[in-house]
Every structure is written in C-alpha cells, then in structure tokens.
C-alpha cells in the first residue's frame, strides 16, 4: 500500500510539474472508476484481461521464468478465438463458446511454448524471446486483420463472431462480460494448482532452485515447458475473453497494453493469485478512471503507464521504501 501511495505521490509531482492539478486529475480518476455502478462495472471489465495476464506472469515467475511477452500471447489468443467464432455457425453456445476460448488458450500456449523450447533446447533466454515474439504477434495479427480476415470498411477489424460464440455481457452498457467469471475461476484454479498439485509443487521447486529440483528428481526442462505453455495459455484465454465478451470481433489495437498491466499487477499482488485479484481491480480502475480523467481534465492518458511503472519500481524495492521512510537502511560500501 505504501508503494502505491508513493507511486501516486511521484505521479502527482509529474502532473504538477507539467501544469495539471493532481487533485483534479486523481479526483476525476477515482470518480470515473468508482463514482457510480457503471464506473465500478467498467473498472471490473478493465480488470478482467489484466487478471489473465497477471496470472500468466505469475505462473511463469513461480517457475523462475520471466514471461514478458503476455501482450503477444494475448493477441494471438484473441485472434484464434475470433477465428473460431467466425468460422462456425449454428453451433449451440455451450459448445461454441468453450471451443473459441480453448482456441485462444491453445494459440497463446503455443506462443509461450515456442519460447519454452527455445530455452530448454537451445538456451535462449526467455526475456528476449518472449519480447521478440510479442512483436511478431503484433505484426502477425495486424497482417491477418488487415489482409485475409479484414471486414469490409475502413476499420482494421474482422467480421463479428457468430452469436453463438458471444460471451454475454453481465452489465448492460458497460464492457463487463462473463469473461470475468472465467478470470475469477482461473484465479482459484491457479491457486489450487500451485499449492495442491504435483505440477504446482514442481513448478515452485524449479523456481526456488532448479539445481536442487533436478537432483530431487524433478524434470526441470519439462517443468519449464509446461510453465510457459500454461502461462501463455492464460494470457491467450484473456485475449479470447476480450474478443468474445467485449468487442465481438478482433479489432487491431484493442489491447492498450494489458500484458504490461499484468506484470505490474502480479508484482503488486505479491505474486499470489488472490492478491492478483485485488491488484487487478486497482489497475482496472486506472484504465477505466483514466479515460474519465482524460475527458474531464485533458491530462494525457499515458500518466497511467507512468503510474504503473512507478508502482512496479516501488513494489519491487521494499528496501528502498524502508530507506525512504527511515532514512537509514542499506549502507554505502565506502
């Protein structure tokens, strides 16, 4: 909590230094995010994809891996879901929706799997490969939505998915869809998997000490592959939820950076699935309230990214906070 307060304080300094009133800006942000029932629903709607990407980062991180490519995994998952949503007609929704969600998970998982194979077979560090694959996903989906699957008209988007593939909205005139239930379910499933299953135990053991895990009889490479596969699948599922629940189609640039939000949320949530749920609401509020803030006060929306980065830095530096609070802490070496 102190980390978040410090981040907002630093953000306030930036706002004030660039001629905006921090009180007005933050006021509009909070009103927009929590002011009425629509604001709250919209906050939860924005929190939904972030829960998926945060779980994606968290799951890989528990295995000692940095999956910073959730953005790309989300995009390919979203596109795959759209493709399945478009391609079939007349299926019962009970079949079509799970099929499309599954396609999203598979595509995202495949994207994570590539990095996993590059790491375990060839030793390429996942930080670079997941990031590079994110760019590949960005351009690849952009190609698909601008050429072979472009809907008629000026906008870079696919045609709408079949009605049977739509995840219903649970709050009209907002973007809150049933995808939020999938997200909450995944939180519980992730918690259970990490704490109560053999796979979760292996993943955590590898994350703590791969050498010890290996000598303890755990197949480290298999664990890494599974962790990145599952991690990518989670992000892909989040993208699928956005397509099937919010937009009803794949629209180029629909993600304002949910992958990065997820990284921040996983850290703020203390790398705990339940903590993720709370932190995601906070970041969802930044995204939903941020729009209101920009509309009312003309403060550029990118202040949200700045706040996000500051939160990451402060949360990751408990020693720094201690130092700032106590003016003591870590001694210089001289």
């Amino acid at each position: 909590m102190i980390a978040i307060a410090l981040a907002f304080l630093a953000g306030a300094i930036i706002l004030a230094a660039t001629g905006y009133s921090p009180i007005e800006a933050y006021g509009a942000l909070i009103t927009g995010a929590f002011g009425d029932i629509f604001g709250i629903a919209q906050t939860l709607a924005k929190a939904t994809p972030i829960i998926f990407t945060a779980l994606a980062f968290l799951f890989a991180f528990k295995c000692g891996l940095f999956n910073i490519g959730a953005e790309g995994q989300l995009l390919v998952g979203a596109f795959a879901a759209a493709l399945v949503g478009i391609s079939f007609d007349g299926l019962p929704a009970l079949v079509h929706v799970p099929m499309a969600l599954l396609a999203g998970a598979v595509a995202g998982g495949l994207w994570g799997f590539i990095s996993a194979v590059l790491k375990t077979k060839l030793g390429a560090h996942e930080v670079i490969t997941t990031m590079m694959l994110s760019y590949v996903a960005l351009y690849f989906t952009s190609y698909l939505v601008n050429y072979p699957f472009k809907a008629p008209g000026g906008v870079s988007q696919t045609v709408a998915v079949a009605p049977s593939a739509v995840l219903p909205l649970i709050f009209q005139s907002t973007q809150l869809s049933a995808s939020v239930f999938v997200a909450v379910g995944l939180v519980v499933l992730t918690y259970y998997t990490l704490q109560k299953t053999t796979l979760g135990y292996e993943v955590r053991a590898i994350g703590l000490n791969p050498t010890a895990a290996e000598s303890g009889g755990i197949n480290v490479k298999r664990g890494i592959v599974l962790a990145l596969l599952i991690s990518g699948a989670m992000a892909g599922l989040g993208g699928a939820g956005e397509v099937l629940g919010v937009h009803g189609r794949f629209i180029e640039g629909f993600s304002p950076g949910y992958g990065w939000d997820g990284l921040a949320v996983a850290l703020v949530g203390g790398l705990n699935p339940l903590g993720v749920l709370i932190a995601a609401v906070l970041f969802g509020a930044l995204r939903s309230g941020g729009m209101e803030m920009t509309r009312v006060t003309q403060v550029p929306l990118d202040i949200v990214s700045i706040l996000q980065a500051l939160v990451i830095i402060f949360v990751a530096a408990p020693m720094l906070i201690k130092y700032l609070l106590k003016k003591g802490g870590h001694k210089w070496s001289d």
């Binding site: 670079i128 990214s305 980065a309």
Partner: protein, 308 residues
Amino acid sequence: MVGLIDIIDVGLFAAAVRMATPIASAAIGGIFSERAGIINIGLEGMMLTGAFAGVVASDFTGSAWIGVLAAILAGGLLGLLHAFLTVQFLVDQVVSGTGINILALGFTAYMSQVLWGSRGGSDIVNGLDVVSIPLLKDIPILGAIIGSHTPLVYLTIVIIGLSYIVLFKTPMGLRIRAVGEHPAAADTAGINVYRTKYLCVIISGMLAGFGGAFLSLGHLNVFVLGMTGGRGFIALAAMIFGQWMPFGAFGASLLFGFADALQMRLQALGLLPPQIILMVPYVLTIVVLAGVVRKTHPPSNYKPYVKE
C-alpha cells in the same frame, strides 16, 4: 521475384551500417553493464528516453549536438536509476529493467503530448547532417557504403574501439570484469564493487541514450512514439551473439542492421504486406539467438552482491 535483385546494392549496405549504429551502441552499453554483473533489460527504455530527450533539446536550443548530449545524459540518468535500484536496493534486475522500459514508454508518450500536443510524435527538429570522410569516400564500393554518414556512425565505431581498449587493455577494465566475475574476490582485492557497478550501469545507460539520439537526430529528425521498436532487446541479442565482446557485438549489430535495412527496402518495394516485412528483424533475432546462445558463457552470474 522481380525487384529482389534490384534492392541489393551499395545503398542497402550503407543503410545496414546506418541501422547497425543504434543497436551497436546499446549493445556496448549492455556489455559494460553485464561485465560488471548487472543485467540491463532497460536498454530499450534508456534508448527511447535518449531519443526523446535528444529531440526535446534540439527543439529548444536548435542544436542537434546539444540534443545528443541531452540524450546521453537522459540515458545515463536512467542508468543511475537502474544501478540505484539493483545495486543499492537489491531489486530484481529484470523487474527494475522492465519498470524502466514501461516508465520510458509512458513518460515519453505523456511528455510528447504536453510538449507537442500529439501522442504520435514531435515536431521536426534540427538533426545531424551527413558528413563525408575524405579519401574514405573515394574508395570504390566501400566508399559508398561507409564514406558518408552522420557523425554518430563514426563516433559509434570510435566508441567500440575505445570500449575494447578500456575493458581489455586497462586496469579499469580488469577491475570491471573482476567485479562481474567474482565480486567477493574483487572486494578483497580492494576494488570498490558498488562504485564500479554504478559506473558501468550509468555508462550503459549513456550508450543506450546515445543510440537513441541516432534514431531521432541522426536518422529521422523527429521523435515517434515507441520509435526504438525493440532495438534495446535486439541489442541484448547482439551482445550475447558477440560473446560480450565489443567487436563481436558490432559484427552482430551489422547483421541486425542489415535485416533492418532490408526490411525498409522491402517496404518501399511494396511487394509484400508491410506487417510481414516488419516481422523480419524480430524473427532473425530469435533465430540468431537460438542458433548461437548454447555456445556462449555469460561473464557473470548476475547475483546481487552484498558486502559482508
């Protein structure tokens, strides 16, 4: 395949040298940091901030050279932040670097709206002119490739040579490498481990910022949102491919620069959709990394050093 042969000319190779410059300078930055035992994922953000600061300074002063200095300064400041967080406060190096990347992207987008009213980018500012090196430019073929560039291209080559000398031929370089390889032993030998790490990470940021200045002042003369486009990460791949050696990293940067130049040429031809062509440098980076990384040995285990 009409046109494929036509684009391979000296102009393409000249463009490859040009586009290798920002990658090479950031890769050298990566070498300084990693040789001292600190992973610098934040190169991307440092480069982007450098590109931004360069344009801002050039916009306000009218001098592109002051812009270059501002870029180096801005990159160095982020380097200082990275060192502060990772060396002093033991923040995870990848988390800190990622935070810096997000901060840079958000801050430059925010500030470009404050300054120029556009999230997309800046006004056109004074950039650096191309200089021709006498004699060098008269050599057949080679002259056309390396004879006429912005001064930043030549400065980068000087920086690469200097980095090699500093890192491998001076006592200071020995100290840096000792700090990365075995900080405890270096400490016992009287080397100030913390100060050395700070210095190297700051240098790393300065070099990345310099690479950013090339993109914004030596190449386009504007700032564009996210204009580094992952070059900081490609620089990390170049560093690994070059085995953490300055000339090796330069060679790798030339390869990536060539991919970048080829990508731009293919774009101009319009044979394929731009998105397909834009993927080329990233796919190449993955392929190269996957192909060579097994045979490399990092110069440090990158564990944070806590003095007993």
